[in-house]
Symmetry: C2
DNA sequence: CATAAAATTAACGTTGACGTTAACGTTAGC
DNA sequence: GCTAACGTTAACGTCAACGTTAATTTTATG
């Protein structure tokens, strides 16, 4: 049963049908197979791909435009496997591979700096928390001494 | 010279004047003092505050609505220092402090889970990179053997 | 096979986050 | 004190990312 209709996909990915069609419309999600009557039929692979999109969007805060570049890596990787034994020259193939590697490195750099910045904010917040809790302790001690 | 005009602020924070007025309009940035003629005059403190907003927005990917809740902590902290010696009761004061502490803890939880998710994506990407680089190595060895 | 449930396209509506323009007042430098 | 540069409000414009509705077709089920 490797066939899912749009509502199944929507449920599983936490999106609305409209959103899925919209993603297809702007090209961040491929147009799937259709039934005789024109109904979209998705595969499990499609769903996993869409989940990656949602993840990248939510976690990385990517806009849909940025997602296109992010996904090009994944796309290329797929293409790479699919056309493994076709007639493209070794040079061209090698070029594709290095390009993928470069894109990956770029993505990783972005991620690393983002993680680093978030960790800095985290430390800052933890400092503030520590100071606040210290203050509350002092405040309570003061209150105690007033009570006694 | 603790007086800056909107253009100075815009330059230093990397925003447009319109954006700054907009932030003021929707309440994520306080309305500053005005000159006799109605010109906005900002302090260094204002600028640092705005920088925090920009940072939170960019790094955390917060919407301006979410920023309001994020900033309420900072606001409360400020208020706390300002009204340190006024007539508010100790109980009310204590309540404010614990509320701040709770908000902080919430923010920290969000940050920690976000950082964790990003690190997972990072590891995934690094795995992919590793596999890809291995593949390229094999590819090159194969090419070498074809050449020889 | 009838009919309700679910899918399709197409078009207009909405919300957030500003950009742009106009019309006008303020300030700084010569 | 004049003028250019910079400020102000107010209103309309825009773009992304969908939501909503309508009108129609397809599919599943008693």
């Amino acid at each position: 049963m490797d066939e899912y209709k749009i509502d199944d996909v929507a449920r599983e990915c936490g999106l609305t049908k409209r959103t899925i069609r919209y993603y297809e419309e702007i090209g961040v999600f491929p147009t799937p197979e259709r039934s005789e009557g024109g109904i979209r039929l998705y595969t499990r692979e499609d769903i996993e791909y869409l989940k990656k999109i949602v993840n990248a969007k939510e976690i990385l805060g990517f806009s849909l435009q940025e997602l296109v570049s992010y996904l090009s890596v994944s796309d290329a990787y797929k293409l790479h496997h699919q056309t493994y034994h076709d007639m493209t020259s070794r040079d061209h193939r090698r070029q594709q591979l290095t390009h993928m590697s470069e894109m990956l490195e770029e993505q990783l750099q972005m991620l690393r700096t983002k993680v680093e910045k978030m960790r800095l904010m985290q430390q800052e917040l933890e400092q503030t928390q520590k100071r606040l809790d210290d203050f509350i302790r002092k405040f309570d001690e003061e209150t105690d001494s007033l009570d006694s």
